[in-house]
Structures are given as structure tokens and as C-alpha cells.
Amino acid sequence: MNYNLKKAGSSLLNALSNHSELVMEAYFSGSINEADYTPKVINNLLDLKVIWRPENERQLRLRPALRTLLEESLQDENNRQIDANIGSSLVSIKTQAEHYKEALNAGRFKEAESMLSDVTERVYSLTDMLATNVRLLWSRISNEFGYVATVDAKIRENELAQSQVSELLNQLSMFQFDQLSDISGSHRELRHLLVVTLQSSFAHCTQELSLAQAKLIDLLGRFREFKGRTRLLKGFVLHLEQNPSFAPQNYSTLSNVPALFNVAENTIAAAAIDVNNVEQEQSLLEVMSNIKHVNRQRDTRTNLNNASPLTMQDENAIELQESLLKSEVDAFFCAVIDSGTNQTALDYYKTKNLDFDPEVWLYQVIGGFHGLPEQDKSYFALETRGVPDPVFSGNFVITDIEIGLQ
């Protein structure tokens, strides 16, 4: 049971010893420079409540409780006694603020700085103390108020609770912000401490106090009672608080283990798949098809899917045609070689009764000729036959091609 607390306690003390330099620096100078330490260290100490950040933009400071511990243990007379009473706290803060302003005006900067740190410390202790008090009041009302048996006891309790709440309210009302604002004047630091910090702490405290009051009103009329189980729970928590080293003895070592602690472990694991079972084949296939397939390659198949089958056929048809043309052109060239004489493309076209478009045929011949390797090309010569254009001078219309051997 104490395992959790013990672990937390050990880690706290270890952190304190590991980061002792940080702690001492915070103690002497009031705040620490975050840049000097790693975020990990700082977060660790924040979680352990060794240091805290009074407000969002301010620097990290040592927790007041820890500071008090250090003050007492080190018997350091230089450090001030922080007052528990809000009223006197406020008065001393105001006095210190006046000292600070005077020192600043007289040009005694070192003194002024120490005054300022003093004021800072007092202000933050005050806010912490206020918060603690209100929290304490709230938890008492929530957890312990109302559990009385007789009407008289209830009345007494109500009076007590109400008086304590009003006392806290009175203390809070001592915050006269206009006065504080006047005192701080135009000094930025003072203004921040006295006006901004105190005001936000005041706001938080009043909020929580109003929650406490609401709860009090709610419970004024009720007689609360711990039903059996809650008593058990509360008692257990209390017991652990008082005896942190408590642990129940290990009942599993007794010869007669009580039934409550005799809980059998998990024996069953998931069954395996039988791939030889014909009956399950269908369902197994379904399961397999639902398994997500991780496709790591870019899927290019979509492009091909969009192309319709017709296109494929067309390609084939075109290919056929082209290859037919090509083979005919080859045959034409061969014929020229065989015959050894010049031949025009159109003559050959007529003799062979080719069924291509004549113009296409001509272009193919030209293309075929120019496509020949250099060596082969040198064997042939190409001449064009045509007439000048009747309408546009300078244009020569080709009507036929003549291929000959060189």
C-alpha cells in the first residue's frame, strides 16, 4: 500500500539531492534562470512541487514550504519571517514597497533590488497562503461538514462554518486595489506584483470560496451520514495517511488461502486456424479478403484500366497497316535493286495494285528512304517529279517520287 507513497517520497528526496544547486540558487536569489537547466530537470521539479511558477510569464520560484524548511534548518537569520495573517502581510508589503521606491529615488540601486526581492517573496507567499486556506476550507466543508447526529450539534456546526467563511471573506476584502495601485505608481515591477499578481490570486480565491459557500448552503440543512462502505473507504485512506508503511500481510502464503484471494489466472488463449477443414474454407476466405493489403508501390494500373479495349484493337489494326506499308516499301526498294532501273513510286503502286492511299504511299516511300541507314542510303538516290504550283509561284507540287540506284 505504501508502495506508491514511498516511491513518490524517495523520488522527491532524490530530486532534491540531485538538483541541490538549483534549489539553493532558488533559495538565495528568489528565482532561477530556466535557461541554465534542461527542461527535463525543470519539469521533474515542477511535478514534484519543489518549484512553482506563480504566474505564466514569471520565473520559477522555490515553494514556500520548502523555503521555510531551508530557513529553519539552516538557521539563516537574514531571511525574513513570513507572516501568516493577511492583514499584517499586506501592511508589510506596502511598507516594503515604500522602502523600495525611496531607495530607487535616492539612487541606492543595490538596496532597492533587495527590497524588491523581499516584496516579491512576500507577495507570492501571501498568494500561496491564501490559496491554501481557501482550499482547506473547501475540503473541510466538502468532506467533513454535516456529519453530526443531533440538531443542536448541527446548529453549532453551521454557526462555526459560517463564521469561518465570513472571516475569510473579511480578510479578502482587505485587498484595497486602488490603494495598492496608488502605491505602485508607475514602477512596472511593483505594479505587476501588487496589482496584477494579487488581483489574479484574489480572483481565484474568491472563485473557490464561492464554491465552498455554495456547498455550505447545500449542506446546511442536510444531515449527512457515512453509509457503511464510505466509512470503510475513508477510514482506509486515513489509516494510510497515518501509517504510510502499512501493507496487508500476504494472504496467499497462508495454508488456507481465503477464498477472496484465491483467484485463478487466465488459462485460455485464442484458438489457431485449421486450414485443412473444408467446412470453414468459405469463411476463412472471406476473412482473408478483408485483410488490409499494404501496397507499397505506386499504383499505375489505373491508367491502363481507363484505356478502353477498343484502343488496344485500334493499335493492333494500325500496327498491321503500318507493317503492311513498311513491308511494301521494303519490297519496292528491293524491286529497284533487283531491276537495276529507276522506278517511280506511283508506277510501282499501280503495278502492285496496292490499296493504300497514294499520298500515304508516297510519304512512306520518302520516309522509308530517309530512314535507311547511311550505308544503305548511299546506294539509292531519290528524285522528285512535279510541277510548279499554278497559283502560288515558288511552290513546287510533287506528284511522284523516283528511286534509282547510284
Binding site: 476550507l137 461538514f145 481565484h204 473557490e208 470503510l232 482506509f236 485512506v237 500476504n250 496467499s252 484465491n262
Partner: protein, 211 residues
Amino acid sequence: MISQKGIVLEKLLSGHFICETTDEDSYRFLKTSAGRMEVEAHLAVLNRQLTHAAEEQVFFASYQTIGETERVKLGKQFEDVSNHLLPLIEWLLLVQESLNNDLSLSQGMNLRLNELQTVIEDTPAYAEQLNKISRYALFGSKAAELDAQLKLVFKRLVELGYLIKPNQDKQIYTVTGKIDYLFDVLKFIDETEQLSLAKKAEDAMSQSDLI
């Protein structure tokens, strides 16, 4: 297809606690003496027997004869249980206070996550308490936000069998019989170690002073 008996056996052997909330049919099956006898016959083969807790509200399997191997397993289990006690109890108290109930949680109670979250968010004391609870090793939360911590705590409790989430879409959790089992464990420890916890709580109440 598996029969009701089969379902019951499988649950018991998986270490589950059967109560009316987690599985009503299995619970009914075990309430009949015939059902109990059938199940016990099968469990006996595996050196187990049927045990009940919390006035027969929850059933689970336990070892019949305890040998060395069983002792080791039970020892480990016991360690878990005792380490988990404090976080679970603090959580129970927190929920009880937030919902303003004088009654502690018991089987069948419904917890609405958003209702709980609203109350805890509004009250700084509860938020700090939740923060503390979620940092225990049992829950092991690293989050700083309240709703993440709350969700993790509830998720873990469902895993451990203390709560169930009957409807996956709605954030409503039902308390199972395992909580009653937990209370039984507490009572047992109280009596055996003679802590007189109830008396302690009462004394604390009568001595209280607000500030």
C-alpha cells in the same frame, strides 16, 4: 456454436468475474444449482472451482488445491491487488464526492463521463485529486489535460474489469460486481488486521475543525 455453459466456462477460465451487469445470461446460468454443478465438474479437471463473493453477486474461478506453482501465481496477484488498493479507493472517493452521493459505488450504477468531467473541471480541488490519481502506476497517465487523464483512468478500469461500457458510442460506464468484490477485500483486510477503519473515520469526523 458454443453453449451457455461453454460461454461461462470460457469466461471463468479467462479470469473474468461474472456478475449480473457484465453478462446476465451467464449469471443466471450460474445461479441455478444445476448450472453450477455442470460448470464445477469441468473446472475440477483443471484444478479449479467456482467461488462467489459479495453475497453471491459475483462469480469467479479459483484454485482447488494450491501447490507451489499456484502459490507463486497467487502471490503475484496479491501484490497487484494491494498496490492497486490505494489508487482505486481514492478514485472511488473522488467519484462519490463529485457526484455528491452519500452512497458509494456499487454494481449497476451508471457513470456519465461528461457529467463527471464538468464537476471535476469546475472544482480545482477535484482536478488536483484526479491529477494525483492518474499519476499512480496503476493508471500511469502522462497527460496534463483533465479530459485525457479522465479518459485514460476510465479505459484502464474497463480493462481491469471494474467498469463496462455497454454502448460504444455513448460515454456511459456501468459499475460491475468486481467493485463489490473490492469492498469485500477491504472488509477482509480491516477485520484480519484489526484496523477498525470504520471507527477511525467516525473519530476523524467528530474531531474536525474547519480552520
